[in-house]
């Protein structure tokens, strides 16, 4: 997938002015936050489970090499094949080879963010195969040739009219005068279309939410059942999984089962949580004859032992972006790559370079909501701050910003001057803003006020007000 993150600022401005997107975002913000809150309220043990989940992931990461070896051994004993791939190129080549060896023409796919990261679809298409996304959201995006804008609700940015228009255009063999009375009619058309693909595909590719070392098992979590049809019906099943998906045992996985859906969609558990261990057994009536795990590093191991190691705990639930005021204002496409929102602001610079993705960790008010809802307690604001520091050290910001930071730093180190300057500033703004509640535009700050208003200051600085209250006690 192409990286558009360097153009974050333009893309974010465009998103703020995009009326259909803003309509979708309103729906999105209300839905996910309320549903998560209700689900969490229903499980009194939720907070304690977050600590347990963090500890399990930390233990696993500290012993990742040993657990990966045990996992791979178990997969092989269950008749599976593990393909270790340290780079995206290795992984693409491994997937292609498995598909070619299987003589594949049609390849069905369950939703997988690592597949987006690797660009599997384009690679298979370039070699004459037809990849078919089967998650409803991913399917419409494939039809429209768009990237996902969210890691669990990839097409949330589309409105109903977009679905109808795309289906009419793409399913041109169906009667042009057919009606879509309800959302259900859109769903039914996709179901009929994809049922045939499920039954005729030669290879099925899924991601993995978890890998279990104890049993050599890959786990997928879906609501539609598309991932299960993808991995059950074709002769060959390929699992794409990055190395940090590992957990030691089934009992460890239970902790994450209780956290993942509640954090993501606000369900107690997703409809299908499926554990796959190897290929079809001798007496089985169904299941794939071949089971391959493409085990991908692609930059993860390089995060171990750095300040970004905590990010490897991420279970891709999307709670951080669902609760992020920045994501909620601009959606996912502005971030310019596979992973948007706070987790993307940490991960994208790691995997693509801070020179390309330096804007992302800056697009945060550090309000801390992402960290407060993260089921594995990743300190996302601190990690974003680490990127800002690295960006500053490497002189990657524009000169104006560096000079402004230098000026601010000069004042900040001289408290008397700082207080004088802020008192002057607050007083002047109060005077200028007499009779109105907020500034819609300010000289030299047009970029800032274009997307928001600046409330008129009360006239006193924080320090002055603080001193007054201390005296009043």
């Amino acid at each position: 997938m192409q990286v558009h993150s360097p153009r974050f600022k333009e893309r974010a401005s465009a998103a703020l002015a995009d009326a259909p997107l803003q309509k979708a975002l309103t729906r999105f913000r209300d839905g996910f936050q309320a549903k998560r809150a209700a689900a969490v309220a229903g499980l009194p043990e939720f907070e304690a489970l977050r600590d347990v989940a963090r500890d399990i992931k930390n233990h696993t990461l500290a012993n990742l090499d040993a657990y990966l070896e045990r996992y791979a051994d178990k997969v092989e004993r269950a008749g599976g094949v593990v393909h270790w791939c340290s780079t995206a190129d290795d992984a693409r080549a491994a997937v292609l080879k498995i598909c070619q060896d299987a003589g594949a023409r049609t390849v069905t796919k369950g939703k997988s963010m690592i597949s987006e990261e690797l660009g599997i679809n384009a690679h298979l298409e370039a070699h004459g195969m037809e990849p078919v996304e089967t998650d409803l959201g991913e399917y419409i995006l494939q039809v429209r040739d768009e990237p996902p804008s969210h890691i669990i609700a990839p097409a949330f940015h589309l409105n109903r009219e977009d679905w109808e228009a795309s289906f009419r255009k793409s399913h041109a063999d169906l009667p042009a005068d057919r009606q879509f009375h309800e959302r259900r009619d859109i769903l039914t058309e996709a179901r009929t279309r994809l049922r045939d693909k499920f039954l005729t595909a030669d290879v099925g590719i899924t991601g993995a939410n978890f890998l279990i070392a104890e049993t050599g098992t890959s786990v997928i979590v879906t609501n539609e059942g598309n991932g299960d049809l993808t991995q059950t019906l074709p002769r060959v099943h390929i699992v794409l999984a990055s190395i940090e998906k590992m957990v030691p045992t089934l009992e460890d996985a239970c902790v994450f089962m209780r956290l993942l859906a509640r954090s993501a969609t606000g369900q107690d558990l997703s409809v299908y949580t499926t554990f796959s261990t190897g290929a079809r057994r001798a007496e089985d009536l169904d299941g794939p004859a071949e089971y391959h795990v493409v085990l991908i590093d692609n930059g993860r191991s390089g995060m171990l032992g750095t300040e970004f190691q905590d990010m490897l705990r991420c279970i891709r639930c999307a709670a951080c972006m669902n609760h992020c005021p920045v994501y909620g204002a601009i959606g996912g496409h502005a971030y310019g790559w596979v992973y948007p929102g706070p987790m993307g602001a940490v991960l994208t610079p790691t995997l693509q370079g801070v020179d390309k993705a330096g804007h992302l960790p800056n697009a945060s008010t550090f309000c801390g909501r992402c960290e407060s809802v993260c089921p594995v307690k990743i300190p996302l604001p601190s990690l974003m701050r680490h990127w800002r520091e690295r960006e500053f050290e490497r002189h990657l910001q524009p000169p104006v910003m560096r000079r402004a930071m230098g000026l601010w730093g000069w004042f900040a180190k001289r408290p008397t001057m700082y207080r004088l300057a802020t008192r002057l500033g607050a007083g002047t703004l109060k005077l200028l803003g007499r009779g109105r509640g907020a500034f819609h535009a300010l000289p030299f700050a047009g970029g800032w006020t274009a997307g928001r208003d600046l409330p008129v200051p009360e006239g006193r600085t924080f320090m002055a007000e603080y001193a007054r209250r201390q005296r009043a006690k």
Binding site: A66, D228, Y272, L295, S301
Partner: protein, 233 residues
């Protein structure tokens, strides 16, 4: 080789070589002991309450359930359900001995084939291994007598489950599988596939609005056989 490249890179990050033998042994004993963590209090109930919670939770997730007094009552319950859903009296049935031995001869209008699922199946009858009260979830481990496709391809998936197979938490269902299952290929307990199913298939991808019946069954119905006197509330 990529395997060594990855493992060495992990060790470099962790600033150590391969784990020493004593730490390897500690990991192996953790895997062998597979300790449980916090188990939510919600499912720690007397048997009757546990079964009631199982049904309440599965109904919350848009599945349906009917309790019958014994296995012999299953064919009639199935016939009634199919008729009520306007489905033809035909279904694909898991080739499980417990289902095969039901008194089907008393219901000559019901026709079935014991086999895996097919793309055109309208209804299936599956054998449930366990029910999990915590979230109203069915555990369906694959086996020759429990084909996975029956869970996925039909419009209506119907599952026969003994009330004695209802447990409280996920961990109890895994414990039951560890005790009851043997996989000839690996020598372990884990079958090729274990599905945990909570309600019928659904999607909210169109405008965040829930619609049932995405790619899997539109209806999930549990026929719960009351074989556990303590579970009768």
């Amino acid at each position: 080789m990529s395997r060594d490249v990855i493992l060495n890179s992990i060790r470099r990050g962790l600033r150590r070589g391969p784990l020493p033998a004593d730490q390897q042994a500690m990991l192996d004993s953790r895997l062998a002991a597979h300790p449980t963590h916090i188990i939510p209090a919600r499912s720690r109930l007397p048997r009757a309450g546990q079964v009631a919670l199982f049904i309440r939770n599965l109904e919350k997730e848009f599945a349906t359930a009917e309790r019958v007094p014994d296995l012999d009552a299953v064919p009639a319950a199935l016939a009634d359900y199919l008729a009520a859903q306007n489905l033809p009296p035909r279904f694909a049935m898991a080739p499980h001995s417990e289902l095969a031995s039901l008194p089907w001869h008393r219901f000559p209008m019901l026709s079935f084939e014991a086999r895996r699922g097919q793309g055109t199946d309208q209804a299936s009858l599956q054998h449930g291994f366990a029910g999990i009260a915590e979230t109203g979830t069915l555990m369906l481990p694959s086996a020759p007598e429990r084909p996975t496709t029956l869970n996925l391809l039909p419009d209506a998936a119907i599952v026969v489950l003994r009330a004695s197979a209802v447990v409280g938490a996920y961990e109890e269902a895994w414990a039951k599988l560890r005790a009851a299952s043997h996989d000839a290929l690996t020598g372990g307990f884990m079958p090729r596939n274990v599905m945990l199913v909570t309600g019928p298939s659904r999607s909210a991808d169109i405008e965040q609005t829930l619609e049932l019946g995405a790619h899997g069954p539109r209806n999930l119905h549990v026929i719960l056989v009351d074989d556990d006197p303590e579970a009768l509330g």
